[in-house]
């Protein structure tokens, strides 16, 4: 485990916002996009010259790497997107038809709630929300009775971005498949940090972002769509293929990839995935569990701080959410940065239903999300800051 303090020298700027976007990135992630733009910048799938082919080869390699990470046999089923929100929109709006019923969980992010809200308000689909308990775990008993004859899709947030709580993915997928319902998994908070075997679990669609646990640049992400699922395309446009026709090509992955891809960003994502492969995702997970335990145990002893989410770090991703009695969460975040140089996130974290379940709506929480590069001395400094802030209340 590295130590952010040492890594950043005397520049005290401690980053505890990895659930929003990971930082720092591996050195290779910074360098790859520049090298790609300088040396091999061709438009993939278009011109047929050397640079185009080099970029085509890069995208092929990234697709293979992503497929390998999620144990997907056919890389053509991996579609590159702007981020997880983009992937979720492509999946949700591509699979749902008028009259369909959708199930999703209360810990979902707005990237799920808002597309569903729009479809529901427009009278296209009906939606039921699976409630979650005070720790953020979806209510399995509720789910077992929630399937209807017209239920088409169950959306599962693999881990809450508010409490980190990991959903019982395998069990929920089994239940959905028992009713002939497809499952879309939002892996925004887990891809790269927690191993996901998409084909063994039987995940039908998996949305991920490149700039969090996968350690890549923003503007990268993707969607896995299993063989046999046909998504209506959200947008159509240039692919460099079948240019004589005004019909977008049917073959995957191009069917869901209109327009020039972010090849320089994907060059960075490839290096992020390589870093994860070389480090070992199990090692990353073990490190993050250890650092989360250290953080949680240090904070839970501070009088007047209320923690949300599971105590057991094995049950959640690497974050801790809390409130301080009689203190505004936003103000706590402001003092953490202005007085201590600690960067975190405060508020609703784009997940309003989760906060309603935790009775932290609309005030929200302070969320600390360390990462693989966070050291225990960073946490010691943070805990000291929290004790001082608490003494002000």
């Amino acid at each position: 485990m590295n130590d952010q303090c040492l890594k950043n020298g005397n520049n005290l700027n401690l980053y505890f916002d990895n659930a929003a976007t990971s930082w720092p990135k591996p050195e290779t992630v910074y360098k790859a996009p520049e090298a790609q733009m300088r040396q091999a910048c061709g438009n993939p799938g278009r011109s047929g010259h050397t640079r185009t082919l080099e970029t085509d080869r890069l995208l092929y390699t990234v697709r293979e790497a992503v497929a390998g990470l999620f144990n997907v046999k056919n890389p053509a089923r991996i579609v590159f997107t702007l981020n997880a929100t983009d992937a979720l929109n492509i999946a949700i709006k591509g699979i749902l038809k008028p009259g369909d019923h959708v199930l999703h969980t209360a810990i979902d992010h707005n990237s799920v709630l808002r597309p569903l809200g729009k479809l529901r308000r427009n009278g296209i689909v009906s939606v039921d929300t699976v409630p979650c308990d005070l720790e953020g775990c979806p209510d399995i008993d509720f789910l077992s009775t929630a399937f209807r004859a017209n239920t088409c899709l169950l959306i599962i947030n693999h881990a809450s971005n508010v409490t980190g709580t990991i959903a019982p993915l395998e069990e929920m997928v089994r239940m959905a498949h028992g009713h002939g319902v497809n499952v879309l998994v939002d892996a925004a908070q887990t891809a790269g940090s927690i191993a996901i075997d998409a084909e063994s679990i039987g995940i039908d669609m998996l949305a991920f972002t490149g700039h969090k646990g996968l350690l890549g640049p923003t503007g990268t992400g993707g969607l896995y769509v299993r063989e046999g699922i046909y998504l209506d395309s959200l947008r159509e446009g240039g692919t460099g293929s079948q240019s004589e026709m005004d019909i977008h090509p049917e073959s995957m992955p191009e069917r869901l990839e209109a327009g020039t891809l972010n090849s320089s960003g994907l060059a960075g994502l490839l290096e992020g995935i390589r870093f994860i492969e070389n480090t070992g995702i199990t090692n990353i997970r073990e490190d993050e569990i250890e650092i989360r335990k250290y953080l949680y145990n240090a904070i839970k002893d501070i009088d007047g701080i209320k923690l949300y989410g599971p105590e057991e770090s094995e049950k959640c991703s690497c974050l801790v959410s809390f409130t301080i009695d009689n203190a505004d969460s936003g103000e706590v975040g402001y003092i953490l940065e202005s007085s201590y140089g600690i960067l975190c996130r405060t508020g609703l974290h784009c997940a309003p239903l989760a906060h309603k379940a935790f009775n932290t709506f609309p005030a929200g929480t302070v969320r600390l999300s360390p990462g693989f590069f966070t050291g225990k001395t960073d946490i010691d400094y943070l805990v000291n800051a929290l004790q001082e802030i608490k003494s002000l209340t």
Partner: protein, 90 residues
Amino acid sequence: MAYSCYITFPTTYFAIRAESLLKKEAYSFKMVPVPRSISSSCGTALRCECKDLSALKEFLLQNELELEAYYKLEEIGLRVPNVEELHFDE
């Protein structure tokens, strides 16, 4: 008269996958822009000697690649060549 043969693909993904798999074998081939006299979904085609076409095709199909079509073209420089689309009994 000299000829070359071409394999075309439904998407760039399969063209690059073909290249990636064939590079590991001893086949002689080149990835080239699709000649305008050929109709193809993907802008990149595989060019090979016609005597190798059948073996290349079999290898790629065994590896579950999606192939679009096969062509035989006269090698006559910049002039538009005569094109023969080849069909195989599957």
